[in-house]
Amino acid sequence: MKFEYFEHTADVKFRSYGKDLQEAFANAAYALTNIITDYEKVEKNIEKSFTIKAEDEKALLYDFLEQFLILFDSENFVLKEITEIKIENLKLSVKFTGDNELKKYDIHTHVKAITYHEMEIIEEQGKVTIQAVPDI
């Protein structure tokens, strides 16, 4: 399983999984996008990339996920697929595809922000679990 959702009074809580940090981060981006629209239905019409740095892993996750909210509000961009992701020494580089013609999709809701509330990044041998609660 890539990700799943849990109960949270005001918002939505998700957990994403991966064999390493990279995969868990990518799956967290899908979990976030999937709150906005069914990401599997999004077409690969645009390629994008960005690089960010942060002071710790949680901050890196916060900044990483936030980029997708900024792209949604400012460019109508929704994520389809993360094609390349590299995390090293709190520096993250990512390449991904998606679309900016929102009319084609059923948009469920806006996500206001990423939060640190109940945020967890648990790294075990061969398995990483991420938990986050975006503000809706």
Binding site: E7, I70, D73, S74, L102, T109, D135
Partner: protein, 476 residues
Amino acid sequence: MEKIEVKKKTKYIWEIPKQGGMKVPCVIFGTDSMVKKMQEDGTLQQGKNMAHLPGIHKKACIMPDGHRGYGFPIGGVAALDFEKGGISPGGIGYDINCGVRLLRTNLNKDDVKEKINELLEKLFEACPPGVGSSNIRVDNEQLKLILNNGAKWAVDNGYGNKDDLVHCEENGCMKQADANTVSEQAMKRGKKQVATLGSGNHFLELQYVDQIYDKEAAKAFGITKKGQVTIMIHCGSRGLGHQVCSDYLRKMEKAYPDIIKSLPDRELIYAPAGSELAEQYLKAMAAAANYAWCNRHILGHQTRKAILETFKDAEVKTIYDVAHNICKIENHIIDNKKTKVYMHRKGATRAFGPDSKDIPKDYQGIGQPILIPGSMGTASYLLKGTNESEELSFSSTAHGAGRVMSRHAALKEFRGEAIAKEMHAKGIEVKGSSWKGIAEEASGAYKDIDEVIEISDKTGIGKKVARLIPIGVIKG
């Protein structure tokens, strides 16, 4: 979750006594069952956390609609000293100046009901909900003027009038605002969203007056009879405000790693009073607040236009507009001394009494109008501020019904189509951008608004003036 020790002081006022790192006690307004729920969902823990902030005066407060938030609980009120305290983005919230505007008309509910669907169609176009993009295009220069001048920009550009400005908290513009403190990313997020409703719990509602509790105050607010139609607009600063909060939360984290370590929760991060970041955040927050006031002002104007197209002789005036998520520099009486504070209200309404000089002249002697929306399809309330609330809650009261059920659970429990049908049977038409959004905001997912209002009224932090019932809803 740790059980918090909470003492009942009076029938509806509770206290978490000062303990551990708390600098002041935390006072809660609510019934037994409300406080029990706050214990279960972590609201009390967050109230206790608030009391750890530096320079906090007298008490941290939780309003009767309090529920768990990020950093502060929703319904959290705290006065941090202007010199020894600080300003905390988590004490304001991501949706800076999420708030409510209430318009009154001289129309009767029966007249409006006859044309309700036609009117809702027009309003849906005029006030785009969901991802509907704005009817108003602005360039960066214009956007900066909005951030600096708030609702005044709208009047200068032909939307609404001066009477709307006068009947708005801060006259629709916080003077501290400086567009240059707002990041390019935040500007990009807000550029296409000027005068849009947004999603989540935001809405535009056509309502009628169901009950008048205080004739004198109602009259001062322009409410004269049962059945009179009002319009309530609930929205905020959209992506721009969310990004301002996030930008400064991250800046403060980077600047003050030691402060994070000293706090029970990372999201309570603050910029100490007197620091450059405190000053910059106040300016940026004020800019986002101005964007929100400009939004609601234009939506109010568009609503008036739609009503006048349908009812040529209608009169539509602004009663008032209040912020629910904001920090203000205010003076409060603390230990018999006038003290300047960063007044944080997160999911709480400012509630100045009749003696305040910071409310419109025509309401002085009455009290500030307090606008509290219910959940979708239930009652909303018009209240008035009291002089006693200064001592009780730093002149603050509740802001809404408060969620009790997650969106996830609401989606399992309710179907949007069925909710819309149910509401239709009750005489309420609803038009939303998605069925899912309607299900998520089903009234069953919220606290009982009537009970929240009773607590405000009985404790005296805001007194009932009129009860409003919806007949048509545009759901964001």
